[in-house]
């Protein structure tokens, strides 16, 4: 988010999902789209059917990579040099859009200077991708009239996540692939409402609609409407909270719909921190590992039991209609917050979620024109929606960037926090699988989904497997400097030699015991995607 905010001025998909299928070139980087965003992958495959070229940049040969025109299997954590090399090729072959650069961007000279210092032979060595492939990818992308870049957590979950995103934005601006329909930079957001949560200020430093907490004017506006004093300093980041240790900055915590005891890196540290809290309250649909540790658990209602809105990855605000009344004693998230607030002495009285939407419109300019009655019988509205007659905004940055001029931010290669060494010789990466969602709080309840995939499998290249004398189905002990898990092996050449990969959905195999708590200095997103491990056959 921070990466796009510094370059474009707004951290969200610049396109609508439907536009992807009419792109000429789709560059997918750090996204296992078929498994994590199947509805978006569908548009990519439709585009391929219409003749589009699909370029996939991913250390693994994912299913999407098998459908691609070109797959660049880079080493994990070398996205910046790869993107820089593409940009260098574009400059060398005069494929840059100089008119766009002159009119719409700033700081190009700095980028150019950095690119001319780049040693392409060195890049080939760092990334492990043949220069000829980098050149072809650059040519495909730059020559297309309509080109889209989609990226996901493979880009952001690195210590250089912000710089990765900035490099993607540089590439798009260098070629002018930003301002138009079917053309843009699209971060794919995961949860149905993660975009909405960010929009509503579920960030340590922002009020709703990305209005900074440390800006006095914004703060005053919120204080006037909410009739209370608000803190002037940004809050703590996720890792500051969950890795503070006993006696850390946090004494009590209220966790809603999140399972940090499985989803955060370096779990041993998280366990210590949560166990050391004076008070922990959790609200969730099912009793998660985190909820099991809590002093108070609120049973929460599911999407089918409540009304309100979700904001999806393409900034589309859609109405959710209650289908069944809440089961048993569970209550909706809003209900839980309102009841808590009332008891804690701050009265909240809303007659409906529509009334809450009105307050959002009052305080969040990008939602100013959104009301429940406008969302009835429609496919929703895409923000920014400035007033009640505004039709919403399918693609961003038309004619000008949100921040005025697009800003080039040149970046050099950042070496991951922990690379394989003699003691921990394998590079470990983790991600998601089609049949399960996050820590499996919901999906692991389904017999059918568990039948499809009921345990974590560690993908190992046949050469490594032969050296370790491991066969598919053998049990391994996988250890990093921070912890160890037992896991079953699956031999496949989808991963490169020296790399192993698995999924983090399984409570029985809490692989985040192994991952490192190093984080991006700006976005404070942990580096889930690279750490070093060793394997022993059990």
């Amino acid at each position: 988010m921070a990466g796009l905010a510094t370059t474009f001025g707004s951290g969200a998909m610049t396109n609508a999902i439907n536009e992807i299928e009419d792109a000429e070139v789709i560059l997918v980087i750090g996204s296992n789209t078929t498994e994590a965003h199947p509805q978006i992958a569908r548009r990519m495959l439709d585009a391929v059917d219409k003749g589009a070229k699909l370029i996939v940049i991913d250390p693994r040969r994912t299913r999407l990579a098998e459908c691609a025109t070109l797959h660049l299997a880079l080493k994990s954590g070398t996205d910046i040099p790869l993107l820089n090399a593409m940009m260098r090729v574009i400059l060398d072959e005069s494929l840059a859009d100089h008119l766009f650069i002159d009119m719409r961007t700033e700081n190009f000279a700095a980028l150019r200077a950095m690119l001319y210092r780049l040693d392409l032979a060195e890049v080939e060595k760092i990334t492990g991708v043949p220069l000829s492939d980098i050149r072809r990818a650059a040519q495909f992308y730059a020559r297309a009239r309509r080109a889209v870049i989609c990226y996901c957590l493979g880009i952001t979950q690195h210590i250089c996540g912000t710089a990765n995103v900035q490099s993607i934005a540089n590439l798009a601006m260098l070629t002018g692939h930003v301002e138009k329909e079917f053309t843009g930079v699209d971060p794919l957001r995961g949860q149905n409402n993660v975009q909405g949560a960010c929009d509503m200020g579920a960030l340590p430093n922002m009020f709703p609609s990305y209005q900074a907490v440390d800006n006095g004017d914004y703060r005053e506006k919120f204080e006037r409407v909410w009739q209370t004093r608000l803190p002037a300093t940004p809050g703590l980041s996720l890792l500051d909270m969950t890795h503070g240790g006993p006696g850390g900055p946090i004494r009590a915590m209220f966790v809603m719909g999140e399972n940090p005891l499985r989803s955060d890196p370096s779990l041993t540290k998280v366990e210590e921190t949560l166990a050391g809290l004076e008070f922990l309250a959790v609200s969730d649909l099912f009793l998660t590992e985190t909820a099991a540790l809590a002093h108070v658990v609120f049973p929460a209602a599911s999407f089918a039991e409540k009304s309100g809105t979700f904001t999806n990855t393409e900034r589309r605000v859609q109405l959710v209609r209650q289908a069944i009344p809440p089961l048993g004693d569970c209550r909706t998230d809003a209900d839980i917050i309102i009841a808590l607030s009332n008891r804690m002495g701050y009265a909240m009285a809303y007659e409906s979620t529509a009334e809450i939407m009105e307050e959002i419109a009052l305080l969040a300019p990008i939602y100013a024109g959104i009301r429940h009655d406008r969302l009835q019988n429609s496919w929703g509205l895409q923000w920014p929606c400035w007033n009640t007659t505004h039709p919403g905004t399918p693609f961003l940055h038309k004619y000008y960037f949100t921040r005025g001029k697009g800003h080039f931010v040149p970046n050099d290669h950042v070496v991951p926090a922990e690379l394989p060494c003699q003691d921990f010789p394998f590079l470990f990466n983790s991600g998601r699988i089609y049949h399960h969602y996050h820590t499996g709080t919901m999906t692991r309840q389904s017999a059918l989904l568990n039948r499809e995939c009921g345990e974590a499998l560690l993908l190992i290249h046949p050469d490594d497997a032969a050296r370790l004398k491991v066969r598919t189905g053998d049990r391994l002990c996988m250890a990093s400097r921070r912890g160890a898990v037992e896991i079953k092996a699956e031999i496949t050449d989808q991963v490169a030699v020296g790399s192993v990969y698995t999924n983090f959905h399984f409570g029985e195999t809490p692989i985040n015991r192994l991952t490192i708590a190093a984080q991006d200095p700006v976005a404070q997103c942990p580096e889930f995607k690279v750490c070093a491990v060793r394997l022993e056959k059990l």
Partner: protein, 350 residues
């Protein structure tokens, strides 16, 4: 009216349709396609004829499969006793049901389900729901966007298989009598029906010709079946489609003739629980995976093979006709672009 004259077609004025359905409702549950407030058209039980608009124009998003073979049903309950598991069968006594407005494809699909569930071993759970049901069809004057029932010979007009069959002639329906249960309905309320004239049957014939010409997709199902029978569909077709299949099973769930199910036990405590059967799909890896992890079907390259082989080859070998009825629903729901129309096209390419 004499019995032997009953099998001549009749006319029902559209003005009297609701009155006729109201009479039917006195002795039956009525299921018909209805458009709800979210603009979805679905077959559902009609409690109040005056409240819901029956939609005879659009294609219902569901067929009537789930009424006869629910997505999930309890087939037994169990108690754990000292002597072991003790099962008791769940008895259901479904109401006699009239399904109204069933399109030829969905009607053919029920006939296929009859073969699947009652052809050899009689499936009691299906039988109970099926035996007291009456199927009133509605011929398709204008095929929908993804339809190809002419290619699978299950529409757009049917001549048999129904209890009653309606054809929309503008201000009136031509009503044909198929099976005895349909005849009984007409017998019970003869006041709504008048014998059809030659002009009416001529108008129906004309409409059927126009409908045959109205298909928007060219689907050469015969050719695909011949090439499957001759083993001429190359491996690369399965591989390409399996790679793109997104594993969602939407095709099987929406398909009016997919009848595979799985059985799971859901404990309600340590000592008791229920045995459920729910829809399953051959495109899932877990459908064929064995204990120990081996899968006789290489999922990555052949996940989709069983589906099309079953529809277009195995059932042709067994019953002489494909079990795809050309309703086109899977074409609309598939997000990988691996639907049966795509397969038929790829199978036909040299």
């Amino acid at each position: 009216m004499k019995d032997d004259s009953m099998d001549e077609p009749f006319i029902l004025a559209k003005d009297h349709l609701k009155s006729f359905l109201r009479k039917i409702k006195k002795g039956h549950r009525l299921v018909a396609p209805v458009t709800n407030q979210h603009q979805d058209t679905l077959f559902c039980t009609i409690n109040n004829l005056d409240r819901v608009p029956i939609n005879l124009v659009d294609q219902a998003q569901n067929g009537i499969k789930s009424f006869l073979f629910p997505q999930q049903e309890t087939i037994a309950t169990y108690a754990v006793t000292e002597s072991g598991y003790c099962f008791s069968r769940t008895d259901v006594h479904p109401e006699p049901t009239v399904y109204f407005g069933v399109r030829p494809c969905d009607l053919m699909a029920v006939l296929y389900m009859d073969v699947a569930f009652m052809g050899g071993i009689k499936d009691q759970h299906y039988l109970e729901k099926r035996q007291d049901s009456v199927l009133i069809g509605l011929n398709c004057n204008a095929p929908f966007a993804n339809c190809f029932c002419s290619a699978t010979k299950s529409g757009p007009f049917l001549e048999s298989g129904f209890d009653l069959m309606f054809t929309d002639l503008g201000d009136r329906f031509l009503v044909e009598v198929g099976r005895p249960k349909g005849r009984e309905l007409l017998h019970a309320w003869p006041q709504f029906f008048t014998p059809a004239e030659a002009d009416d049957t001529q108008a129906q014939y004309q409409l059927s010709l126009e409908a045959m010409a109205g298909f928007k997709l060219d689907v050469y199902a015969d050719q695909a079946m011949q090439r499957l029978a001759a083993g001429m569909v190359p491996e690369s077709v399965w591989e390409q489609l399996s790679l793109r299949c997104q594993d969602c099973a939407g095709c099987a769930y929406i398909c009016p003739t997919c009848t595979c199910f799985t059985i799971v036990d859901r404990p309600s405590g340590a000592a008791s629980g229920e045995r459920l059967r729910s829809w399953d799909a051959c495109t899932f890896a877990g459908f064929t995976r064995l204990a120990g992890g081996h899968n006789p079907v290489p999922h990555k390259t052949h996940a989709i093979q069983q589906r099309f082989m079953h529809k277009l080859k195995y059932d042709v070998d067994k019953h002489g006709r494909p079990s795809c009825v050309g309703c086109g629903r899977c074409v609309g729901i598939c997000f990988g672009g691996t639907d049966i129309v795509r397969f038929i096209k790829m199978a036909g390419e040299e």
